[in-house]
């Protein structure tokens, strides 16, 4: 929490950034990206990331639970295959091709990122829910657990570490890939990077790149801590 507060506070200090980049890139005409403050871009970036992340969780986890029940077992190989194939799609292309369906702006970006982030959650969810020790399951069955109870009280808690690891990978991947969102009119920290590349202003590129790298590392770290907090028995 402290880390996030500190980073957001730092990102809000436009004047410090301006001084820093004037120093680093003395030849640049405008050393700081002026169209939008870094803080706003960061918040946009986080909004896109968490929007797509929420979709991934809302769709991915129920799908995983469904195909690990006897009723949906026939669909399991198909789901595994489809998410793996989905990941080979270049994100830029998915973003652009979703345009006609979702229009210009952040919603297309969210959908494309959702497709991209699905794999780690589904893969880890399947791994977690299918590799449970059978003696534990038998014991639960013997104790008279109903199916729903088994899922909530035994299977999900046991699979939690693996599932959480998948969510972490997925969210970091989404945050990283969200950098290309400006190509389809979405916002975020990719805006200064792509604008900088277009007008070959390295200062813009470095600002966006440094901020997004910082954010990615911070998110990864936060989620790792969260994993530890949620699974204290590990």
């Amino acid at each position: 929490m402290l880390g996030w507060g500190l980073v957001l506070f730092l990102l809000a200090q436009q004047s410090i950034w301006k001084a820093l980049f004037s120093l680093l890139f003395p030849s640049a005409q405008s050393p700081l990206f002026e169209r939008e403050t870094l803080l706003n871009l960061t918040l946009q970036h986080l909004a896109i990331t968490f929007g797509a992340g929420a979709l991934v969780l809302l769709v991915g986890l129920p799908l995983v639970v469904l195909v690990t029940r006897p009723a949906g077992a026939a669909f399991r190989p198909l789901l595994e295959n489809l998410v793996a194939v989905g990941q080979t799609f270049p994100p830029v292309a998915v973003l652009v091709l979703a345009l006609p369906f979702l229009g210009f702006g952040s919603s297309g970006a969210v959908l494309a990122l959702f497709l991209y982030g699905l794999l780690p959650v589904v893969r880890n969810g399947l791994e977690g829910l299918t590799s449970l020790p059978s003696d534990v399951l038998d014991a639960a069955k013997g104790m008279g657990y109903a199916r729903a109870q088994m899922l909530w009280a035994v299977e999900l808690p046991l699979a939690l570490p693996v599932i959480l690891a998948g969510i972490r990978t997925s969210l970091v991947l989404i945050l990283a890939t969200a950098t290309v969102a400006p190509l389809v009119g979405g916002g975020g920290l990719g805006v200064p990077i792509i604008a900088g590349l277009a007008v070959s202003n390295l200062a813009y590129v470095v600002q966006g790149a440094a901020a997004v790298a910082l954010l990615a590392v911070l998110l990864d770290w936060t989620l790792a801590r969260l994993e530890q907090a949620l699974t204290p028995w590990r």
Partner: protein, 446 residues
């Protein structure tokens, strides 16, 4: 090899009847039927104009009805027949597309284009799901009939009038160059990653002292590709403008000796001090490997800044470097896990036979870790082919070029011209390496 799941057991029980509504096939048929109700094609006055959507019932001919019938049959018919029906469905699907494009383009100006719309994509997904169902039941028929149908369709020119193919015809030469460039960018990155990553993995597995290497790679992996490109840009631009080629080479030679000396004092210090030189070596090797493999001429100019030798802040040099750094993690991690997974008893047996540590490594550990290493290379390769798309943003070219040009010009067909081959390449490389891994396991009797 087929895992026995509750689903496949239920399947075996219903095999007795002719009708066998397999759930996955039902899903495919459902998707296919929904798709038949949606617009398939989009007629546009030019490649960037807005289009007018048309469904399969919007053009004369009864192929649509036939496809509808095939979907219904496909859902309910049993086992191997499904594969045959799927091939037929694919054929009819292609003919339907060909007929539609030809009909829409008759009486139109030269500039008119026909693009794919939602229904066509959905029916493609339905065909894929259907293929998957058929493949798992009786792979022979599905494997035979689907490629045959596809080859027949291409031979008949069913897709010749479709937007992306038209784009391809007008960009033919550039397409070949960019495809080659894409392959050489990702190829040199993967080769370098294997060259650096395998020894690194062996090192990490040799002693727990080197565990931090995995941490560093994991950290690199979290940094977004575009950000890594962006951060490398100014750094490389500076170095390539000031450092002369012979100075760089001399530095590298000195660096090797300095590393040996420092290593004796402190391993960590040696790595830390020599890391920039390692990156320099990597970037030079990457840029030159790419020129050797790819369509861009190899340039080596002495008595001039590195810039003149093709190592610049933008272009292939930073692209290959960043791609290599990304590809390293899967390679190192799998080499490490592979070597770690060699059972202690097997190693003991080798030692008992009087093998020296080197013999033990080459004859026992390495062969046993090989399948997992190959798995890592597969992961690295398909990852790299995808990320190489972004390389076009920093002027390195590759198939991402078409995607970016398409985005800038608002021409979705051009985006597809870049995207479809990238997806195809990734899947192709993935399955080729998977097949090799399977062959290896089979040869080793695992």
């Amino acid at each position: 090899m087929r895992a026995v799941s509750p689903g496949s057991r239920a399947q075996g029980e219903t095999r007795r009847t002719i009708l066998n509504p397999h759930p996955v096939a039902l899903l495919a048929a459902g998707l296919g039927l929904v798709a038949l109700g949606l617009p398939w094609l989009e007629l546009k006055a030019s490649r960037i104009a807005a289009g007018e959507a048309v469904g399969v019932w919007g053009w004369p001919g009864s192929w649509g009805l036939l496809l509808l019938g095939l979907w219904l049959l496909l859902a309910f018919v049993r086992g191997p027949w499904r594969g045959l029906l799927l091939g037929m469905a694919l054929l009819v699907w292609g003919l339907l597309v060909g007929q539609g494009t030809a009909y829409l383009l008759s009486n139109q100006l030269e500039s008119a284009r026909v693009s794919a719309a939602g229904g066509l994509w959905l029916s493609l997904l339905a065909l894929y799901v259907g293929y998957f169902a058929a493949y798992r039941e009786g792979r022979g028929w599905a494997v035979l009939s689907a490629p045959l149908a596809l080859a027949l369709l291409i031979g008949l020119g069913a897709f010749d009038q479709l937007g992306p193919v038209v784009e391809w015809r007008s960009w033919r030469e550039q397409f070949a160059t960019e495809l080659w460039r894409h392959l050489s960018l990702s190829g040199s990155a993967v080769l370098l990653a294997v060259g650096v990553g395998v020894p690194l993995g062996v090192l990490v597995a040799s002693s727990p002292r080197f565990g931090w290497v995995l941490g560093v790679m994991g950290f690199l992996q979290t940094i977004p590709s575009l950000a890594l490109f962006g951060l490398l840009l100014p750094l490389l631009a500076q170095v390539s403008q000031t450092l002369r080629l012979e100075t760089a080479l001399a530095l590298l030679v000195v660096g090797v000796f300095a590393f040996r000396l420092l290593w004796a004092v402190s391993g960590g210090l040696a790595v830390l001090l020599m890391l920039p030189l390692g990156l320099l070596a990597l970037v030079m090797a990457g840029a030159w490997l790419h020129s050797l493999l790819g369509p861009d001429p190899l340039r080596i100019a002495f008595q001039a800044p590195l810039q003149a030798s093709g190592i610049r802040g933008i272009g292939a040099a930073p692209a290959v470097l960043a791609l290599t750094l990304y590809a390293l993690l899967p390679v190192v991690l799998n080499v490490y896990t592979g070597l770690r997974g060699v059972p202690e008893a097997v190693k003991d047996a080798g030692r008992g036979m009087g093998m020296s540590p080197a013999q033990l490594f080459w004859r026992v550990e390495l062969p046993l870790a090989l399948p997992l290493m190959l798995e890592g290379i597969r992961g690295a390769a398909s990852l790299t082919i995808g990320i190489t798309t972004v390389a076009a943003l920093i002027g390195a070219g590759g198939l991402g070029f078409f995607i970016l040009r398409g985005v800038e010009g608002g021409a979705p067909d051009m985006v597809l011209l870049g995207a479809i081959p990238i997806i195809g390449l990734a899947l192709l490389v993935d399955s080729a390496l998977r097949w090799m891994g399977g062959l290896l396991r089979w040869r080793m009797g695992i």
